[in-house]
Symmetry: C2
Subunit: 113 residues, 2 copies
């Protein structure tokens, strides 16, 4: 079950930065050129361009060339992948609660006897 860790690593790593999360929100609302994105943040164009590369490698965004611009667009599948990963933990949690409940039930039965 240690499949896909590379991808999962990259997705969570990409999401672990506030600037990248903000870029992602913007490009899920609609595609935007890299320089337009750069104009929103108090850092150099190169820094923003690097953030886009990180998002791209995590497959959270895609780019398409239009003239001299590179338009960045959010990709929903990677988000879904991340949510699926997290839901595994929720499932574990619920199963744990169920087991706890069983133990509780058994101990109550024990008392009644």
């Amino acid at each position: 079950m240690v499949v896909d860790t590379e991808r999962t690593d990259r997705v969570f790593r990409a999401l672990a930065d506030a600037t990248r999360r903000d870029i992602l929100l913007r490009v899920m609302r609609g595609e935007s050129s890299v320089s337009t994105l750069a104009s929103y943040y108090p850092m150099s164009f190169a820094a923003v361009q690097k953030h886009v590369v990180v998002l791209e490698r995590a497959r959270l965004v895609t780019k398409r060339k239009q003239g001299r611009e590179q338009l960045v667009l959010g990709e929903s599948s990677a988000i879904e992948h991340a949510i699926e990963q997290l839901e595994r933990y929720e499932i574990e949690w619920r199963e744990r609660l169920v087991r706890f409940d069983e133990v509780l039930q058994n101990s109550l039965k024990g008392r009644k006897q």
Copy 2:
């Protein structure tokens, strides 16, 4: 809306490592001492202890002392926090699809006239 970025950073950062994700799965199944956890991985006790600290700072796990052992337990609220964050992106995505659909509908109406 730039609230809570520190916490979100820490949660995603903590999840961006396969060893930490595995530790998290184990301690959501049931609490475990740090040295027991360490026995599962091909690295030093100190390395695993550091991973636990990272999970702890992200509030993905809690510790409680029992004798000389420190028992680590998964915390569901941080996972839920992370899922909530990700669902924001899903919502953006759906809204984007709705807008796209509206544009499409309008262009179809336009043609009919």
